[in-house]
Symmetry: C2
Subunit: 396 residues, 2 copies
């Protein structure tokens, strides 16, 4: 590994709030800004890990909630941890399960201890606590574990947002304590050896999550409380892109800008439509994730330089051009819109896969290009032009 | 291209009735015996053409019936023919649609003209005739077109089998006439140039199909009538593996063995379970196709050297071994049974794809190994051992 130490972050260029960085993780480096494809069950939906790698992904997400229910962390631990199990060779970030259990409206009960919920798979009664989330993520062996947070809906009242934010801070103490124990215990087992990434050792860092709904002061209080609790190697902003009015995200990120340490990576959770990615980058965010790339892909909706394309439309029937003639993805280099439309119309699995792959590459490439523009001091101009064209308002 | 001329066939070794051959086709050579994966809609279900190629497939099948209904041959012609449309670079064999329309029991009416049927897609009334089948296959631009035949069920009476067989012969005359016109017309358009494979030229051969149910004499009569009608570059045996008693296939192939020209490839249609492939090879068959590889794969059923494996079984939960430790497919080289089981249990598309790919490679490799054994004069011994182990009766 070159450049930065494990869990280190180097800022290599900046323009306004936007940054180009380099994040070191036990399984490899991540050049930022970067989109992280979501591998809910240890596979980016519909894609082979080799395809994800060739699409330029540097880090994959895993979902603690889903992997806890299926196949269960004991199974994954028995098969060597999430890296070996999924055969994904690069860094992995696991979420905490918080977002998923709080999304189970009507099926969960929140207390200070944690969240009791009903499994969406078999209806069984389960509990997720800050401690258990840490234990599951330790068993998965991800490079980055996320703190277990209390997420509130985007339209939540000030009181509810404050309650979730304060609880997230209290839970952060518990996450930190348990995570510390788990790392220490693993270190004892390996006699202090730090090369045992896939063995008993646990080379994992814990990132906290800033909450506070759409209230500037709550967000700032959350950030202060978070920073007071430890020298984190990275900080996530959660609870945005969850139904709040569109301009709120910008306002929240602006209100946090001053307080965020500049030498730590910032992860804007759940954000990953092209225009939101660019807005997040402009406001100093470094990492992004979203299932839209693969979910839209499965429905035949593809992103292109000039906006969204519905591959199923009749106008693509004999279109002998790729989804996006400027795209360098494996789908665009080989297949015509006409063939892709045919695969969707005749319900051939290959279609879902090819458009998902295109969308994943599209977001990864957007991150790569933003990084390049930032390093050249050209980000503001470039992203304005990019967005104008994407939104179909290009004058030329 | 080396070795044989287009549509030529060279026998390079033999043992008993089994042969090792080399078939020349406009888009490449096929070393026989060979399993041909089925790309119903211009894609081997769940697989990328690159994966199919890497699995060692030398030729892909396309289904005239399905492609006629979706997307329609006009669409495929507009997009450059089936090769360019599907991006499959090697030879393609298209069936005639006969098998499919005769399978539409209750939805079709047979007359001497052809078959009127109801589309399984939109319920529209359609007709398929020998002439139309030739026209569709010419539009698809496959290397090998199959004659439009009258297929009867495996348990059909002697009278019905005789009727279907005689009609197949009469229809063969019509197929031959129309195919000849189509090739000639294409030649005129290209001024006799034969290099215009993907252009207006039609470098396509027509193969007849021997019918006759499970009646030795009808089969022999069909073969005689077929041979009397032209100097075919290949001959197919149809109407087997369609519900007849298991030993009937062997009896039919034995009764045809003497009459089949030795210098032409023989295609045993619809056959492709491992044990049937070996039996067919032993009885002098060269080419095979079957959807079982991908259909079983989608259900999590995998072939291994020691028999069938149901990947969903609980016993695979923490199995840190590949489907088949002797298999060289991309799935077995990378993924554990435990991970594959997890993909099936959590309904991840990737699972269907990985097991389908294994099964396709399994049959292709079986053909490769049979070819090697035949050339070394070791086929009888090798296939006996192989089958014993596959059926779990190995003594060691």
């Amino acid at each position: 590994m070159s450049g930065v130490s494990a869990f280190g972050f180097a800022v290599e260029g900046g323009e306004g709030l936007a940054r180009a960085g380099r994040l070191g993780l036990p399984h490899g480096e991540v050049l930022t800004p970067a989109f992280m494809p979501v591998g809910t069950y240890g596979a980016v939906r519909g894609l082979h890990p080799e395809e994800v790698e060739r699409a330029g992904a540097q880090i994959m997400l895993g979902n603690t909630y889903h992997l806890h229910l299926r196949p269960g962390e004991d199974t994954i631990r028995a098969l060597g941890g999430l890296h070996r199990f999924s055969t994904w060779p690069g860094p992995i970030l696991t979420d905490s399960g918080g977002f998923q259990v709080f999304s189970l409206a009507g099926l969960r009960t929140i207390s200070e201890t944690g969240v009791e919920f009903t499994s969406h798979i078999d209806g069984s009664a389960r509990t997720l606590t800050p401690e258990l989330s840490m234990e599951i993520q330790a068993a998965l062996g991800s490079d980055v574990a996320m703190a277990f947070d209390h997420v509130v809906p985007g339209q939540a009242s000030r009181d509810l947002a404050a309650e979730g934010m304060e609880r997230t801070l209290r839970w952060l103490d518990r996450c930190k304590a348990r995570h510390g124990e788990l790392v220490e215990r693993a270190d004892r087992r390996t006699d202090g050896r730090t090369d045992a990434i896939d063995g008993d050792g646990l080379q994992q860092t814990l990132w906290p999550i800033v909450q506070g709904g759409i209230h500037d002061d709550l967000r700032r209080r959350s950030l202060e409380g978070t920073l007071a609790r430890g020298p984190w190697t990275g900080i996530a902003i959660g609870g945005l892109s969850v139904g709040e009015p569109k301009p709120a995200m910008r306002r929240m990120l602006e209100s946090l800008a001053e307080g965020l340490p500049t030498d730590r990576p910032r992860y804007l959770m759940g954000v990953g439509f092209p225009e939101d990615l660019l807005e997040g980058i402009a406001l100093g965010m470094d990492l992004f994730d979203c299932v839209a790339a693969t979910r839209n892909g499965r429905h035949g909706s593809a992103w292109t330089a000039s906006g969204k394309l519905n591959i199923r439309k009749a106008s693509n029937r004999i279109a002998d051009v790729p989804i996006d003639s400027e795209c360098d993805c494996a789908t665009c280099r080989r297949f015509s819109r006409g063939y892709l439309r045919h695969l969707f119309v005749s319900e051939e699995m290959l279609g879902l896969r090819l458009v998902s792959l295109h969308n994943v590459r599209f977001l990864i490439r957007l991150g790569e290009r933003a990084r390049e523009a930032i390093r050249q001091g050209d980000f503001a101009r470039w992203s304005r032009n990019w967005l104008e064209r994407y939104r179909g308002r290009e004058e030329t």
